[in-house]
């Protein structure tokens, strides 16, 4: 499924770019996420707790930063996540683009998400809403970090 979310932060595109590409700093801004290990410059391991309706899920994710093009302010992450209680998993390609918007920055995130297993069955209906909520909390946290 394709999810598109966007938000504004009160900081310049360059400031926002610097934060978004500083992985140890940015990850804690994502609700439920923590960085476990930096394997290489662009390869990370992270854990993410998500509530999908009544289901509390924990994902162990391998994250690879495939594109980080400062010229076009575009980042692409490839994520492969496994639910830690064998309830399925997900793969995602997450592309984010920064654009100047007045004195701030508009961040647009396009996610191509493929879920499998029980996660796919139960998550199907609620994922877009949950993703929207997570992104808006992420945006609030980013704004606070940039303030």
């Amino acid at each position: 499924m394709k999810l598109e979310n966007s938000f504004s932060v009160p900081a310049s595109p360059q400031q926002t770019w610097d934060l978004l590409n500083d992985v140890p700093r940015v990850v804690p801004n994502m609700p439920g996420a923590r960085l476990d290990e930096v394997l290489e410059e662009n390869v990370f391991k992270a854990t993410m707790d998500v509530k999908l309706g009544p289901m509390a899920l924990q994902f162990a994710a391998d994250v690879r930063r495939e594109v980080a093009d400062e010229g076009s302010m575009t980042t692409t992450l490839a994520v492969k996540a496994r639910e830690t209680k064998n309830r399925g998993g997900a793969t995602a390609t997450i592309e984010s683009v920064l654009e100047a918007e007045g004195t701030g920055t508009r961040v647009t995130i396009v996610t191509d998400l493929h879920m499998h297993g029980a996660v796919a069955q139960y998550g199907r209906g609620v994922v877009p809403e949950v993703a929207g909520q997570m992104v808006s909390r992420f945006a609030e946290n980013l704004a606070a970090s940039l303030a």
Partner: protein
Amino acid sequence: MSGVAPAQRFVGQSVRRVEDRRILTGRGRYIDDMQLPKMLHAVFVRSSVAHGRIVSVDVDAARSMPGVVAVLTALELEGQAYPLSIQPDVPNVERPVFTALASDKVRYVGDPIAVVVAEGRYAAEDARDAIVVDYDPLEAVASIEHAENPERPNLFDDIPSNLLYSEHREFGDVEAAFEGARVVKLTMRPQRVAHVPMECRGGIADYNSGSGDLIYYATTQSPHGLKLGLSGVLAQPAEQVRVITPDVGGAFGQKAGLQREDVALCVASRMLGRPVKWVEDRVENMTSASHARSEILEISAAVDDDGTIRGLDVTMRLDVGAYPVLPFPPSFLGPIVRTMMTGPYHIPALRWANTVYATNKASYGTYRGPWAIETLAREALVDRIARELGLDPLDVRRRNVYTVEEQPTEMVTGPTIEGIRASEALERAAELAGERDFRAAQAKAREEGRLIGLGYSSYIEPAPGPPNLFPSMESGLPPERAYARLEIDGHLTVTTAQAPHGQGHETTLAQVAATEMGIPLEHVRVIHGDTQLTPFSVIGTGGSRAATMASGAALLATRSVKEKVLEIAGHIMEISPSDLEIVDATVRPKGDPAGGMPLANVAGAAYFAAPPGEDAGLRSSSVMHEPPGGWSGGTHACQVEIDPQTGVVEITRYLVVEDCGELINPAIVEGQIRGGIAQGVGIALLENALYDEEANFLAGTFMDYLVPTVMEVPRIEIEHLEGDALHEVNYRGVGEGGTIAAPPAVLNAVADALGGVPITTLPMTPERVLELIDG
């Protein structure tokens, strides 16, 4: 049995089921009730992706967890079990070869990858969660259209496409049938459905390393078939494999054959030298056990203006999921549907094409009335023909249905039609449904904005079918065997090849045997479900064989014992055996109620001092071959009212007129009919084993997969026709007719309520009905 006094004639009476005291008081014994000494518990790690290569399976953490005894993957099974495949002698069929636990690839959500064996179930489940499987996902084959697309990957690397089988056949002169005829077309694409037995799958493997004997306690319909499969796959000599089937809580076709989990459990027990138990949970059953239906059937019918059907041109595309259910080849369904396609109608020409595909879904398993698609599509077609020609659907049926006068005759596909009461059932159903009054009421309701409809479906059910049915399908069915043994106290033990799981065979076979023997019903015990004791049958219970075949075998075996008894009694009493009878457990001269001796005394004499010419022990083994006739059938009529605001379909009346020959136990017969219709109503209105476009399974719980409850299943009115007997054993099966006939009856009623809209898929959920209302 005509000479039996009425008081002793248990056949025909709704006696209480023998098994119910045990089951209803909680003294039934199912797999999950069984505890063996030193027993271990198994759970399976299953694929969460539909299609992918297995990169790694990390079991190290799990192996060191408390209580864990072993974690087995395909690697550990190598050398312990042969790879699995279908029976080798089926021509023109691709034969996927696979392993009990997935090795290089996973091919559906639920594919077993590893089995965790631990001291307890909790420990096993915890360890399962610690196993990390890394997949390299492949594009999923989630539909027949995907399977036909050469761009999509193949499920099996050694099979050149996802097409497993194709067949083209012609019966009669199809070209002539279509020449100058009107053509009515219909496509029917029902959903996938799950069998939903009340008890999920499971088993306990108990290998004795001292003796080398393997006992497998299995929840199965086919103990001998399972034994045969295990013996071959495990290279375990047949005399050292014993399958014991305790009480089984329903199967509906899902528990036939050899399951991959059976193999894994037996290997685990053989490696560990301890009993290993697995009990499937509901999500696992919904996801990983078999599903059925979801054929795509396209029909063109050549018809005359008066509704005479001159011929059919039919294409069936079938999605059998990822792995064949062993030992059935992927080609097995086509010949049954093809042979049954013309149903109770004398249609003189049939062109048939069938293709079968592998997809990334759970296996296709036979489900109650496996050929049901032909009944669904054909009965919807009959109504469509009527609609397009401006005729009454009943008149189209009348014009084509087999009459009593034209029998015996043959279906264009081969089987003999003899002894069926299809036209009588149709007329009686129309009469009971109040066809004429209903049409007036329907017109009035329409004026008030209410939507009511009446639909019919007519069917025949091979139960077990005539002797030439299976040859027509290029296969054969083995005869049915039974043993009977008179005990030393004059009671009777009947041993059947059936593996009952709700059918009441402990009762019905006892009714037949007690009536034949002339003893009280309570003096008969029916033994089943242990390959060490029971006669061989590769099927066990399935295919509606019990009523004719198992009853017939029990009857013949009992009769043979009775002859021995009369021989011995004649010797003792110095009377010709032909002048003796057994009445109420007393052997007596015919017509001399006072002059007899208790059956127990005759039995005792035979056991302790074998009279000349008789061996000690009064036992016999008998075989029943298929008698002529063999058809059940009839007509269902369904009335519905549809709420135009919500789209909810309510079944307001449901009636059945059917013929299954003489009823052994009317309550059991009607229970079978009602249960079948309940499942048919579920198929028509509720159930959907849904996969998404990436072959994720979306219906793993009863929140998502709706089964009918007492709220949806209507009161069912049943009328029995009893046709003339073609054979002494005039009992026929009735298990499948309800499930095959109900979906088209409901579909035709809904279509009728909506003014004849074409309905081409199921279930008819409120959302879908609203779409139909909106056109």
